[in-house]
């Protein structure tokens, strides 16, 4: 009994209690694609507290400097901390006052290092991030996970988006998508997520970033379609069921 007492006091010192983490308020999938003029990203505005959809106006798409856009899923408070890190990064970049500015590739690399180093300290930021942007005509779209796994591609998604949205994007994405086509494609994916991801909410934003600049849309909802024949009179073949 004495030894186990010692063991637990050794283990529950302040240092250790910072380590193991659980996410509390989380955002679900983010999806991003390259299109003709730049990058399009979509995310809903839900912040779930376990199985409760606690917050419905969480902005998970944010601007980073002049050339980049970040979308985050996972723990919202960790995302807010990441935004503070990025704010400082961009501030210092501006303070050089040398006409240079960090492009999306650089910001993605910075985020990767931050996530990986936190993972090395066993104190991860519980997020999956998507970073997109355009600089000097070059489009960039990358992803980083909470343990530092990172890559770039023409289409990326986090969380459930990997399972439900990416297959659609892989099938229907093209190099020369127009803005309207890109939005339609993202909406198709977001609708699919809405149907099948229980933590999705029907209030989303779509962000567009091009060489000219960034716009994040006002929140809006998607039309959903429940007129499947199987849903009309569902109990007709089995009286008494529901």
């Amino acid at each position: 009994m004495v030894s186990s007492q010692n063991e637990s006091s050794l283990l529950s010192s302040e240092g250790d209690s910072q380590r193991t983490q659980y996410p509390y308020v989380t955002g679900t999938s983010v999806i991003g694609i390259k299109y003709k003029d730049g990058i399009l990203m979509a995310a809903d505005m839900g912040g779930s507290y376990g199985s409760t959809i606690r917050y419905k106006s969480v902005e998970r798409l944010k601007q980073v400097g002049k050339h980049s856009l970040i979308g985050a899923s996972g723990e919202i408070s960790d995302f807010q901390e990441i935004l503070r890190y990025l704010d400082e990064l961009i501030l210092h970049d501006n303070m050089w006052d040398d006409g240079n500015s960090l492009g999306p590739k650089e910001v993605h690399n910075y985020l990767t290092r931050v996530m990986y180093n936190r993972r090395n300290k066993f104190d991860p930021l519980w997020n999956s991030l998507i970073l997109g942007g355009v600089k000097n005509g070059k489009k960039y779209l990358g992803s980083v996970s909470m343990i530092g796994v990172h890559f770039e591609d023409d289409h990326v998604a986090t969380g459930f988006g990997n399972h439900l949205a990416l297959p659609i994007l892989r099938e229907e994405w093209r190099e020369d998508l127009t803005f309207e086509e890109g939005v339609k494609l993202l909406e198709k994916c977001m609708r699919n997520l809405l149907y099948r991801d229980r933590s999705a909410v029907n209030k989303l934003q779509i962000a567009k970033i091009t060489e000219e600049g960034l716009t994040i849309s006002q929140p809006y909802s998607l039309k959903t379609f429940w007129n499947f024949a199987a849903f009309q009179n569902p109990t007709v073949g089995a009286e008494g069921s529901w």
């Binding site: 007492q5 983490q21 066993f122 890559f151």
Partner: protein
């Protein structure tokens, strides 16, 4: 009072297979370009090969974030070496550096399974194969990663390497021509792709010889 257990792992296996074959005056280094996590494919177009020096190419599979960090550490160490010695590192020197770098993190390892390929100072092909904590040896050929168990027996059969226990030591580099070795590598990956779910999409092949470096890409099954 039971110890708290973490509900996340600092490691992940992003899959993939790497192969290298040493020839009399060339070296072939190859790796597939699929990056996975669990049962999902993250991207089909990701290079696992890194040029560490003019004559040293490293192919690594395993946990991609660790692989990238390892590549960064070795590249910057090589840059420092060049500043201090005014020359490129030889492949055997890089091999030792890689081993030391891996062992340095013996108690929180880089989850990276590496194959280092290049040309030694005599211009002969050399391949070094590693485990995650830096144990290494020079061999005539090697495969690492998720498809290694499928490829290694095939290479054993086709390359008929002499036993490393023989005295006097017999040369392990294959007498095959460069074109035959490249073809053999393509066959290896086509076979591994059939049965290993983490291998596929395409294979990137780097061929090093006295004339320089050449790259080939071959498409693989995407399922």
């Amino acid at each position: 009072m039971t110890k708290e257990h973490a509900n996340w792992s600092p490691y992940d296996n992003n899959g993939g297979t790497c192969v290298a074959i040493a020839g009399a005056d060339y070296c072939v280094i190859a790796a597939d370009t699929r990056m996975s996590t669990g049962y999902s494919i993250l991207t089909r177009d990701y290079s696992k090969i890194c040029k560490l020096a003019d004559k040293s190419y490293m192919a690594s599979s395993g946990f991609q974030a660790d692989v990238k960090a390892l590549q960064k550490v070795l590249s910057s160490r090589h840059l420092i070496y060049q500043h201090q010695h005014n020359k490129q590192m030889s492949c055997p020197a890089m091999a030792q550096l890689l081993s030391n770098t891996l062992y340095y993190k013996r108690f929180f390892p880089y989850y990276a399974f590496n194959v280092l390929g290049g040309l030694d100072s005599e211009g002969k092909g050399c391949v070094f194969t590693y485990d995650a904590v830096g144990s290494y040896e020079r061999v005539g050929y090697s495969a690492q990663g998720s498809g290694a168990t499928l490829i290694t027996p095939f290479l054993d059969n086709q390359l008929k390497s002499p036993s490393p226990l023989l005295l006097p030591a017999k040369d392990a580099v294959t007498p095959l021509s460069e074109a035959e070795a490249v073809d053999l590598v393509k066959t290896c990956f086509a076979s591994a792709t059939e049965r290993d779910i983490y291998t596929g999409d395409s294979v990137e092949i780097i061929i090093l010889n006295a004339k320089g470096v050449r790259s080939e890409t071959e498409q693989l099954r995407k399922d």
